[in-house]
Symmetry: C2
Subunit: 185 residues, 2 copies
DNA sequence: TCCCGATGAGACTATAGCGTCTCATTTCAT
DNA sequence: ATGAAATGAGACGCTATAGTCTCATCGGGA
């Protein structure tokens, strides 16, 4: 029961924070249909809950990222699979839109920087394979992939697009928009 | 002096909120080098200040948007000019990242929906001119433009890209990523 | 059946931050 | 120079919310 409760609270926190970035512990507890005290028993503090939620998002993103990268033979293909995977995991980190106070958590901020840095490396490798147009700066490739992933996650969350459709569109946009090739899905 | 003070507070609020989304009135007043009471004299409440800041962002975006659209002869060209203009005005609305409680303000939310709706119309018109690839849904075109504008504004704010460079890259990415043509700038 | 750990409900405290008010000081226009 | 308007500093009260604690209850396993 303990594990189920913990997970239920995390889930509820995600949706509650998405609805209202300043959601109180009461809101979250109500969303999880759990006593407020239980939230503190599990996470100690509101900040602790947010940390746990962010850690979960980071871990999940790492998991799908690594799994995707494992199946790729070229860097370009890895970039494609990783992008699709992260779009698919959008529900796990979309709440970060809101919880901006997490940027003060050194551990969380460091993890985000690491993920961006890994993406930058991947883009660099794809560039060496000739996938990226030479005149497009790597910083923009990374930034725009980030922006498109957010846009796709939001569109999926709002029901404007299906997950698979969003995954296809993100990659299509990147591949046509930034690469030397012209892809069609 | 009154006008200068008011503007100074708005400016300070923008930068303070960008640094910390939960910036207090004290923080903002300190950033503006102004007494806390003065902030309340001018805006009545914290919410009033945020509303004024958001209204300013909306008005500025409208202004540059209309000005850009006035110089275009085709919808496609209008889309290009509007996109560039909004990227250029990024500093005015970038704080909205943070101030999520503004979504509860009906006026602000309505203005945002209106701007998205105008963008949607523009994309529709560009599509009728044959600029948008038929298999790409309009919702995605709008969402990705939005996402790329945010990404560009952030990159500019972080000093990763220059304004003109960012404007070029955003449009290049859209034009190559979503359109039937292949542009080079 | 009995027990123990998890939970729910709620009282209670502490504090941060908003908003008001006052008064002295400064600034600006005439 | 003088009066009015704007400002700065800070005291004060109020509310919302985090966090603690207690006690009754519930539910599953030995």
């Amino acid at each position: 029961m303990a594990l189920a409760t913990r997970e239920r609270i995390l889930e509820a926190a995600g949706t509650a924070l998405l609805r209202n970035p300043n959601a109180t512990v009461d809101h979250i507890a109500a969303e999880a249909r759990v006593g407020r005290a239980t939230v503190f028993r599990h996470f100690g503090s509101r900040a602790g809950l947010l940390r746990a939620l962010a850690s979960r998002a980071i871990a999940e993103t790492d998991r799908v990222t690594r799994q995707a990268a494992a199946h790729a033979c070229t860097a370009t293909d890895a970039l494609r699979l990783v992008t699709r995977a992260v779009v698919g995991a959008g529900e796990f980190f979309r709440f970060l839109d809101s919880a901006a106070e997490l940027q003060d958590e050194p551990e969380i901020a460091a993890a985000y920087r690491r993920q961006i840095s890994e993406l930058t490396d991947l883009v660099g490798a794809a560039r060496r394979e000739g996938f990226i147009r030479p005149e497009v700066p790597t910083a923009w490739v990374v930034a725009s992939i980030d922006g498109l992933i957010w846009a796709a996650s939001r569109a999926v969350g709002d029901g404007e697009l299906g997950v698979v459709q969003a995954q296809n569109l993100v990659w299509e946009t990147i591949a046509n928009g930034l690469s030397t090739e012209r892809t069609r899905t």
